[in-house]
Subunit: 357 residues, 2 copies
DNA sequence: ATGAAAGCGCTAACAC
DNA sequence: GTGTTAGCGCTTTCAT
């Protein structure tokens, strides 16, 4: 009968089917110990009444919720969103729902209420998808022992104290720089992300290591710092042009800053790539259509989220089987060079062949 | 005492404080009818044991969860992510948590399991942040009467049957076109988004209306269709160049396609904006650093999410006060023209002055 | 194979 | 002011 808008409960189903609530429960949970005809009768009532068991009641009694807590920041940027995209897909696959929290800023340090909210709702595990910035992760040294459920950190320095999944940023910085070195460049500048960001630091270290190993200078005059935005890339390049005018190549910490730098270079009358080779980082799909198409380091940010879900679910399972003493995870996702015109290595190249997206 | 990792319950607090659970409950809910000293004593125990009430148990008894269900799609694109960003911020403000589901594709039509998951967890309201594409919303004509909680649709055609919050896409298309018309252009092409998308259609209608009102042609040869990506913009422009070579201006359905089109135009030897004026849509912050900087229609996608949360929360409140018969909402967010170099209206312009971001 | 009773953690309704 | 009782919707013993 349509018209009733009250929630259907297990009791009503039981009554309607002429059995006890446990029997209905058994049918719901596909237990073997139900007579086939009883099962059928109950199932019919369930279908007819469109009964949907309450996940809330289940969570209460089972002391677990089939929910993962996801804490993120900066969803108005494409990077964190892609990671979240990977998280949602994999969580769906594995049958977990997502309780989402976005920190008001990247450096938020008052995380206790966030955690409390998540824990109060009985999430089975947590994915901390906020990059490590300054000391914003230090608080976990104190808080973590209080948390009884698995938690995985994204884009965070590895530590024996917690589980980490991250892009190999240092390797990425190295690959970018080696690409420029192999094209004969020696005066390679670096447009770094904010020095408070661990990921930015890693990329910078990769640049420095490659430079030093090749026997070339990698000093402070060769570095300018941006805040990841194209606008900051524009400004930082102006600064770089003053303090290191002899540069012939630039490794930018991300594609947006590379875009801003190229924009400024053009205004300064510098031709890219003829007078300045540029390599970015991230592998935005738009970067293939920049002018010139941007050589960049691609990393799969969805994959990051995907792995995080898989691992946290594995840890949840392990905890239930009381497999204690899990080794702390340190999973690295390897980045990949995409060569396009901006680095001048292939003078005229068909960008479609060099794009992996 | 540290070391205990069992969840602290209201019972333990009650026992420890020497009161009944009821009194603890009263303290938790800040009821007036507790003696000050009792309150203090209970609060001390709560603090000492770090007791956190179970939101799950509360949801069960109160039959509401303080959670909003959010259904989205395409989080690997920046648009949906920005909207989600607006949703998370406002939800945080209003004290609601978010249960997130991402559809595997934009056109997913088997939404019943998604809704069931949300409803099983007692969400108090739903924000359907999936744009209207083809007939992917038709199913709601059937499903909606079954749903007892408020639900708001984003980027969907208005209807007396449901609540909608959307950008005024038609107006945006109109503004873009009028901008080009006012610069003297008559042969204005349109690079449309997928015709199955309602938003793409609206932008196209805006273009057509403006053209027709100005007394100029707006026929099929002037239109090519892309899939929002830069790559598709590149391809579609090639097609446009064949079927409508006399064009002097182009209105692209989004900034990425505009980027792809400009890229292709350059390869075809067409100078932008001298030989081809271009206007985009969305107002990506990077578009200020395209070459040339892109004139575009900015719309605040975070604001969309923000409004959706505010309204759904309002509807939840109204439902609790049994204020029935809410008028169906149709909220339009107005877009805004950002003039930069690509449209050739200001020959040399300082982009910083024309950017609102 | 099925049912009765107890209880997950909390709160509403009523005592006192 | 505070405690007692009952119950939200479900599952888990333990009978039968």
């Amino acid at each position: 009968m349509p018209g009733y808008r009250q929630r259907v409960t297990i009791k009503q189903v039981a009554k309607e089917a002429g059995v006890s609530t446990q029997t209905v429960s058994r049918v719901l949970n596909e237990r073997p110990d139900v007579a086939p005809d009883t099962r059928q009768r109950v199932q019919d009532v369930i279908d007819r009444l469109q009964y949907k068991p309450s996940a809330v009641a289940r969570s209460l009694i089972r002391q677990q919720s089939n929910m993962l807590g996801v804490v993120t920041a900066g969803l108005n940027y494409i990077g964190p969103s892609r990671t979240l995209n990977g998280i949602t897909n994999e969580a769906e696959q594995l049958g977990f729902m997502l309780l989402l929290e976005e920190l008001p800023g990247f450096s938020t340090i008052d995380i206790q209420p966030i955690l409390d909210n998540l824990l109060a709702r009985q999430v089975d595990g947590i994915i901390w998808a906020v990059p490590e910035i300054g000391d914003n992760h230090d608080v976990f040294r104190v808080v973590l022992p209080e948390i009884t459920i698995p938690i995985i950190f994204l884009s965070t320095q590895a530590s024996p104290d917690w589980h980490v999944v991250t892009t190999n940023n240092r390797k990425g910085g190295r690959i970018a720089t080696e690409h420029l070195l192999s094209a004969g460049h020696r005066k390679i500048a670096h447009l770094a992300g904010p020095s408070t960001w661990w990921e930015a630091t890693e990329r910078r270290v990769g640049w420095r290591e490659a430079m030093v190993e090749a026997g070339f200078a990698a000093i402070d005059e060769q570095i300018a710092e941006g805040n990841w935005s194209a606008a900051s890339g524009d400004r930082a390049f102006e600064q770089l042009y003053e303090q290191f005018p002899q540069m012939t190549a630039l490794f930018a910490g991300n594609d947006q800053m590379a875009l801003g730098a190229i924009h400024r270079a053009r205004r300064l009358g510098i031709r890219v790539p003829e007078e300045l080779a540029v390599v970015g980082f991230d592998g935005l799909s738009e970067s293939a259509y920049f002018s010139p198409p941007l050589t960049t380091i691609y990393h799969d940010q969805q994959q990051l989220g995907c792995i995080a879900v898989r691992e946290v679910v594995r840890l949840i399972g392990a905890a239930q089987n009381s497999d204690e003493n899990q080794e702390s995870l340190d999973i690295l996702v390897e980045p990949q060079l995409i060569v396009r015109e901006s680095s001048g290595v292939i003078p005229v190249c068909n960008h479609k062949n060099s794009s992996i997206i």
